[in-house]
Amino acid sequence: MSKDHASNADINSQLLRPVMKTGKGWYLTVTVSGLVLLAAILSFAYQVYRGIGVWGLNRPVFWAFDITNFVFWIGISHAGTLISAILRVTGAEWRRPVTRCAEAITVFALMIGAMFPIVHLGRPWLFYWLAPYPNSRGLWPNYRSPLLWDFFAINTYLLGSLIYLYLPLIPDLALVRDKTKGLRHRIYSAASLGWRGTQLQWKRLEKAVGVMAVVIIPVAVSVHTIVSWDFAMTIRPMWHSTMFGPYFVAGAIFSGIAALIIAMAIIRKVFHLETFLKPIHFNNLGLLLLTMSLLWFYFTFAEYLTTYYGNEPAEKAVFQSKVSGAYSPLFWAMIACCFFIPVPILAIKKLRTIAGTVIASVGVVIGMWLERFLIIVPTLAQPRMPFNWGSYRPTWVEIVITAGTFGYFVLLYAIFTKVFPIVAVWEYKEGLTVSSQEHGAPEAQRLVAHGD
């Protein structure tokens, strides 16, 4: 028992170190990412002041970087769901140190993604007109519009994933509460909702987390399906596709895992969590990434091959602009980043190291951003009437706003790691007891042994 006690204290001090102590690197990260975000906010202010014409949009390319970023970040947000919920439901033990990193990605990526439908409006100050409330216009919003489905799906997902992030945080908040004094103590006291670690509280928590894990999976699938329907419900060439729903969900999970691997590698390095985030985690996530890469390639291949064989002129024009026309450098870069670079790295066991999986993941994140851009812009640039064909080139405003989303993400994540333990302390300990249970430890112990 005393040995257990010692190791508990050890785990606590290691996992709570990022919360308790603040290094120079953290301040530097927050400053740099904050400045990038500030630049983006100023660019947006400039856009509101001058008009959205400061973007590179035109007729017929009415959507470009804005919706690319929207789909991209909503896609990244699928990391949390897959890793955390699916692995929790299936009882995969190795998930334990990974879940919270993943859930935090979900919430932040969603917050960023959900900004774009507002940022990209011609009159962004009227975004609330999409909400159903009794108003002076005497109108409900148009429930037939996929944009309205987005509005509800994203809000549901954001609320659900916030709850799903918060619930497993409660015991850890109580742990921090017990280790702090003064104002911080009071804040953590309020946030931990009177957690005392009784048997009843544990039972209820586990039940609630279990229910949310099951509920959040269909919500996540529906969110990216609906995002894909923004395109699939139109009659535009290469948008009007029945398989866009599953194609987008697969792509979202794909990019989400990649983002998670990158985030975990950075956290592992800067907070010295080598004993918790082990090569096995990167190996397992790498295998998942490999699976999704193959699945993504299968979907992409099926989508393009059917378009090619259909040989319908309007579709063919878009197809050719991607495969051999103006967008072909981006297209082949996408194929390389999403398939030809990651697959060998992830398939060969020797290369599936931490560094290897991170390289593959960086490729996937870049590739999936390109994928969304290539779904949106070539279709818009080549409408059915050739008289109206156009092209698109981003302006500095769009580029700064895009960079700002990454700055914002890093900033939110850095603050999160400062306020909350990034590895779920109690879940990790639970894992230790579960494995020692197999060697005969009583179950009751795991529920009460959360403190030092």
Binding site: R50, G51, I52, G53, G56, L57, N58, R59, P60, V61, F62, W63, P117, H120, L121, G122, R123, L126, F127, W129, L130, R137, L139, P141, N142, R144, S145, P146, L147, L148, F151, D230, M233, T234, I235, R236, L380, P383, R384, M385, F387, N388, G390, S391
Partner: protein, 235 residues
């Protein structure tokens, strides 16, 4: 086209005889003047932001020296099954009971989704506040609102003229008939290539012309049921 007999609302439609179109673009100029369509300017136009509610598309057919130039005026087709309508989240674009595809500028928040789903690319976005060179500012039509930035706009079939024509008919206690309503493009066409009227009235010119063997609609295969009917060229 669905009509409810008790409503007896006119169903506005246009017929354009491509055999008569010379591509002079008088309709484009007339439309700009009538509807306060802003002038994007050289620089903006080069960026693909010109605004022309009606445009004359020019196609070259054949190889040199047997080249034929084909002209085709294209404006909002006022589809019965308009792809732009269901996608607008705020009902800024909707179908009126007179068969018009209406755009309510004040409701528009600028998602631009309607323009993305328009197969005819006839919707125009106000990327910047509207500006006119000095004397033109004083020539704005007081009966047409000037659109603010951030909203979508497009051909209305000269709704202000339709209203006037309908009121005149009502004052005289009769149904609308040919000649009551003439959109600016129709009025200004020197070769009388365009005609406008109530297609629900079997006696109207557009009704008669729409039954011509030369009649077709743009991209009919999409099922959008346009209200603009083109009479194909005879060779």
């Amino acid at each position: 086209m669905q009509e409810t007999p008790e409503a007896k609302k006119p169903q506005w439609a246009m017929v354009i005889d491509l055999d008569r179109c010379t591509g002079c673009e008088a309709c484009v100029v007339a439309c700009h003047a009538e509807n306060n369509v802003r002038i994007a300017g050289e620089e903006e136009a080069a960026r693909g932001r010109s605004v022309n509610w009606i445009r004359v598309e020019r196609y070259l057919e054949g190889e040199y020296p047997d080249v034929k130039v084909r002209f085709m005026p294209v404006m909002c087709q006022h589809c019965e099954e308009a792809p732009c309508e269901p996608v607008c989240p705020v009902y800024a674009t909707y179908h009126s009971d007179e068969g018009l595809n209406a755009q309510v500028y004040n409701r528009c928040v600028g998602t631009r989704y309607c323009a993305n789903n328009c197969p005819y690319t006839v919707r125009f976005f106000n990327f910047f506040p509207a500006q006119w060179p000095e004397p033109l500012w004083k020539a704005l039509n007081p009966e047409v609102s000037v659109r603010s930035r951030g909203v979508m706009e497009k051909c209305t079939f000269c709704i202000q003229r339709i209203r006037k024509g309908e009121e005149k008919a009502k004052d005289e206690g009769r149904d609308v008939r040919d000649g009551d309503v003439n959109p600016a493009c129709v009025q200004s066409c020197p070769t009388r290539a365009m005609s406008f009227g109530n297609i629900a009235d079997p006696a109207s010119e557009v009704s008669r012309l729409s039954k011509s063997g030369r009649a077709s609609r743009l991209m009919e295969e999409l099922g959008t049921k346009p209200k603009v009917i083109y009479l194909n060229r005879g060779e």
